[in-house]
Symmetry: C2
Subunit: 230 residues, 2 copies
């Protein structure tokens, strides 16, 4: 039976944008698994699989039902040990958590201040209402104010990427010559911005940009199949 990945979308069901769903999509490709996808808006998530999870991704794989991107990667690693490893061993699994922690505390908040209003604008009407209310409460300001000075945030954001840049300037992926789940963790964040926002902030010559393009090209251009927001 083919696995099913539930992904977050806006008005256009062909444009999944959640960073966490993208991590899983590339993890499934990495494992060479056949899978289908199902699109859901924010407000449709509670109806999926009998209210299984408040968030996507959700992976249904035979009898297994798993949510949370890292938990799904761990599930895939255990369920398909003979396929290419997502972690490269126990140490890689442990340190992927550090890459996740860094990504969620360095890249995600910065990209939210760049793309939050653009994400809103991609959504269907009921999702827009949910997104604006929940995010404006979390951010303590309007979406418009939250992204108003995004131009001035680019330089410090680019500086904050230096720990990643120093690695991918010297080798293809965080995993080395070939990618690991750690690469998909960081890729998901940039893909989130690429799919949801037409605002361009990454210099073409930046080693991080070039690493991201390598990720977009993986698995017959799985990530590139969804065009950048225009």
């Amino acid at each position: 039976m083919t696995a099913i990945l539930y992904e977050l979308v806006g008005r256009d069901a062909s444009r999944p944008f959640s960073p966490h769903c993208w991590k899983v999509r590339l993890a499934l490709k990495h494992k060479g698994l056949d899978f289908g996808t199902r699109a859901a808006g924010f407000t449709e998530i509670p109806e999926l699989e009998g209210g299984f999870s408040k968030t996507v991704p959700i992976l249904k794989d035979g009898e297994a039902l798993v949510t949370d991107s890292f938990a799904i990667a761990e599930y895939l690693e255990t369920a398909y040990p003979d396929r290419p490893s997502l972690f490269g061993g126990e140490g890689g699994r442990a340190l992927s958590r550090f890459v996740e922690s860094w990504t969620q505390r360095t890249i995600h908040p910065a990209l939210a201040r760049i793309a939050a209003l653009d994400i809103h604008d991609c959504l269907g009407a009921s999702d827009q209402a949910y997104f604006r209310a929940s995010r404006e409460k979390a951010f303590g300001t309007s979406l418009e104010n939250f992204v108003a000075d995004r131009q001035s945030r680019i330089a410090p954001f680019l500086a904050s990427l230096e720990p990643l840049r120093a690695i991918v300037a010297k080798q293809n992926f965080l995993g080395g010559e070939t990618p690991l789940f750690a690469d998909y963790i960081v890729f998901g964040a940039f893909q989130w911005a690429r799919v949801s926002s037409p605002f361009r902030f990454m210099p073409a010559e930046d080693a991080v940009t070039q690493w991201f393009e390598r990720c977009l090209a993986l698995y017959d251009g799985e990530g590139a199949k969804v065009p950048a927001a225009a």
Copy 2:
């Protein structure tokens, strides 16, 4: 034949302070190897092992002579595959580079702005002259100016530790229940400050402080045997 680790010291040869040498000392303990240490000041390094390296650590292990802390860890992992692993597999080795990159770009520069003058004050006379000249050229200012506003740097430094804090608040070590070389990479930085500077900047209740104390206690308190600077 017992391995020899060449370490950096100041006037007091019993107080090695280099972050990179501490990484190796704990890596040797992790592997359960017998080793002796030899102390060297900055200006004595060029004389070690026939001018083998401009920097310490240097490890001499039988016929092998290796410098650079990460290269030494890789050497130990290959030479002693039956001892406890420093990386937990190839993925862990690759992602340890990201931990190193983050540590050297987030923690090291911040601790230099806290401890640079104290490090200078620990050194012997000829090392003081070398250290002041080389660091003041690199920093573009006097050592005194470089650390003058260190009190105001503590809060942003503590904030920058959040990716680490989020992990070690939930588990004992970056490696999980037990430490990996990745832990020693970060430990080395804090031990550098602890041994060289009496300035206290880590809150006792901080999860990072508590993780550091766990690291100090490893291997019968190997790190704690050198008392904190007073």
